[in-house]
Symmetry: C2
Subunit: 493 residues, 2 copies
């Protein structure tokens, strides 16, 4: 092959070779399956170093234009009509089975809202829609050093498959932390998962099949609703009040619907921020026992209490193995670490473990080992103290700002912990209609209907995250929210 080269050119020789061949391939003059000359041969023909030709070939290969077969040479690739342009366009003439794949909502609710806020283009947007706490608090460099020391210490073991139920020292550490929170269990009853989302997923898969009924607080965590809907469960809501789930209405629902699961968030409920009262906790366990229904307790921020007395978790009151407890480090740590856990007793533990193995074998050993080193009980307690102080102040800032900037008719309970204020607007403002106006003002929230079982109720409610923003931004955000509400009022009035 003869390739015209210009040694005096500013473009290096390997680039000249590469661009000559690229033009040939793209124009079709070097059709698919053409074998390019061996590097050694071409280098000899052109009077250049072999490495120069190798560099040119490597670049073509990296761009998917040629294909090297070991011991056989380098060939021009056919261009694949699926590779470019068509993508996943639902209008294309896809195979029939593709058309029957269920179309589904693709984004989490808070992602949808955050995108709306970004799209509105405010120069300094303030996010109250987040479902997590403030990541800026996390000491990245300290954690980086922990990962380093774990890799130096454990070498290859830090990167191999670990135990299916999780790294044993981490399970023991979680046992100690739970004990310090009043929940006694043992490491054999802990199953490490990829965040609490996977924990809820595994429990759902093991206990329910499509069309089975699950009882949930109404409203409840939208991620659980999305999951239950996708898995084809029937979802029945239990009404709530300021004390959490109205357990006195539960017995009738149990008799009427024969549910396979009760899903509950008893502490600093998402979205309402309420805590289930002590008396109701005991009642709930008695009823679940009487009607033979497992309870899935989602304790996503049960430890983030800023005032008042802690309630025992449902799992701590469970003596018969009725309660499956799920929680996560994602709030204390970083959500991207993807480590949560299940506490379960009885035969279901092994079923969950088996399903975990079949879903993804095991959770990343390296991250588990790093967490084991990082999450000491001392660091955990220090985190609770520090974030308790910070988040409590932020909550108070938001409550004050609400009183200052929002109409007198809004109503809310002051949450004693967690991340959220659940705010009721005066009629006839719909939070769904308010959201785009608020985004234009540069502030977001999650509209209430995202959390209701029917997907429609609750349009007078909104969920505000007070933990993820600075006090300054909280005040400014609520001021903007007040402005947006003024505008809506004017339109409506």
């Amino acid at each position: 092959m003869r390739i015209p080269l210009t040694p005096q050119s500013t473009s290096p020789l390997y680039q000249q070779i590469e661009s000559y061949l690229r033009q040939g391939i793209l124009s079709g003059s070097l059709p698919a399956e053409t074998r390019l000359p061996a590097c050694r041969q071409l280098a000899h023909d052109l009077g250049v170093n072999r490495a120069t030709v190798e560099n040119a070939y490597a670049k073509l290969q990296a761009d998917g234009l040629v294909f090297s077969r070991m011991g056989s040479g380098t060939y021009v690739l056919p261009s694949n009509p699926l590779a470019e342009g068509i993508k996943n366009n639902p209008e294309k003439d896809w195979p029939l089975w593709q058309k029957s794949v269920q179309a589904r909502s693709l984004k989490s609710k808070s992602d949808t809202v955050e995108e709306m806020l970004q799209a509105a283009g405010h120069p300094h947007p303030i996010h109250f829609a987040s479902g997590v706490s403030d990541s800026r608090q996390f000491p990245v460099n300290e954690f980086r050093k922990v990962i380093q020391s774990v890799m130096r210490r454990d070498q290859i073991a830090a990167l191999e498959y670990g135990e299916g139920n999780g790294y044993a020292p981490l399970r023991a550490g979680i046992t100690r932390i739970l004990a310090s929170q009043g929940l006694q269990t043992s490491p054999e009853n802990i199953l490490i998962t990829a965040g609490s989302q996977q924990a809820i997923f595994l429990v759902s898969q093991v206990l329910l099949k499509p069309n089975d009924i699950v009882l949930v607080e109404d409203p409840t965590y939208s991620g659980a609703l999305d999951l239950f809907r996708t898995l084809g469960f029937q979802i029945i809501g239990i009404p709530m009040d300021g004390q959490g789930m109205q357990v006195d209405k539960l017995e009738k629902l149990l008799q009427q619907h024969h549910p396979k699961l009760i899903y509950t968030v008893p502490n600093f409920h998402n979205p309402t921020g309420t805590c289930l009262s002590s008396a109701r906790r005991r009642q709930l366990i008695v009823l679940a026992d009487r009607y033979n229904v497992p309870i899935l307790e989602d304790d996503f921020v049960g430890d983030l209490r800023y005032e008042g007395h802690a309630q025992p978790s449902l799992k701590a009151l469970d003596t018969g193995g009725q309660v499956i407890y799920v929680s996560t480090f994602s709030k204390m740590l970083m959500p991207g670490l993807r480590v949560g856990f299940i506490v379960a007793n009885g035969p279901i533990y092994d079923s969950l473990l088996n399903f975990k193995r079949l879903s993804d074998q095991a959770t990343s050993t390296l991250i588990q080992r790093a967490l084991d080193t990082y999450v000491t009980i001392g660091r955990y307690q220090a985190y609770l103290r520090r974030s308790g102080q910070i988040f409590r102040k932020r909550r108070d800032t938001m409550l004050n700002a609400i009183q200052q900037y929002l109409p007198d008719e809004v109503s809310f309970d002051s949450p004693k912990g967690g991340l959220f204020i659940w705010l009721r607007l005066p009629q006839p403002i719909s939070t769904d209609a308010l959201l785009p106006v608020a985004c234009k003002e540069g502030v977001s929230f999650v509209p209430g209907n995202f959390f209701f079982t029917d997907g429609a109720s609750g349009e007078e409610w909104m969920r505000l995250n007070f933990a993820a923003q600075t006090e300054e931004d909280i005040e400014e955000g609520i001021r903007r929210l007040g402005k947006a509400m003024q505008q809506i009022k004017t339109i409506n009035g």
Copy 2:
């Protein structure tokens, strides 16, 4: 409270306080809900530093004996009857719903075998049952430095939730690597998963429901069989020969069973090591298209070729969006990293993405970012060259050892790549019966029946991993295997 202290003791003061209180709690003299004195008060009473008392309380708390309520004091915890001793014993009087939870096999096949080998107690056991390649090849320290530099560079972003379908630069990098292997696709068609196990799991969940039919090669990968069984699918086997799946028998099965999926491992098949011939690849796609059945192509080691010509992947031949391709970095990298990927076109991509989000939100961002930096095309090619040389030698060592140490009647095909030799023993040796004898000799393998759809056929077969051991151990392991076969023969004869 008066606690007798001995300042002259070798045991520090905080320990004396702690052990005094511990005895009180364990003996019941300090019953549950007892409020311990405030640290300040007790320190004053005992005439010690406040920190001394705090240390004692912290130790009790870490051990789950006391429980500190913020702003209220430290209380003795009740002991939880579920916390110790009872564990997950299936004999206990569990709630009824626990008893109906399906009992399931809990271990992967190779884990079961490895445990049997360990239990046999040989001082230098040799593992031929592994499903992965040789982890000792992996440069842990190089990877540690990559993680470091990624965390320094990306800071908090390395630990936050990432994109649901995976870190975009990593998806682009995978596109380039696939192109260098002859498969052109685009980053929007790649979905990062927690290993290829999760990839197969997601495809199964999106496309099939219980009692649906899946066609598989018979034998096939036991992890897929376990998964399909647990999800309640009906599994129909397609016979194989030296060219892979007998595609000429496929059409009848398609007509008869109306399957919802064809699961296939066309390259260096697990367990047989065969490659599907070029002609059959094209036939398979035509048939899947005609009968409107998606193909799930599991290309777990398609790049590990030691000789002969590469075949295009089924996905590379797919112009209509019929093929869903799954692969993993677990073999090149470390299995504990848990990163695999799906390549899919058409509406199913969004369904898979949605199901991924509901299963575990996303795969660890940190590991994805580290892989993006680590897995350059140059390093990937270098890995293929190096492991190609090493594994080829090991294969040849095993083949030679088989000829030297095993009876002449064994039969096998020499695999052109991958990790496994599929060995047929002379009748009437059953590999299931041979396994305990081999383990006593200090060598393991996976018995053939683990891989068959009926769980029973194939007892004359065994799978041997030639890639995970040194040449020395391979020779010694096969020698031991020969010895075990001699013993079985003697018993049988």
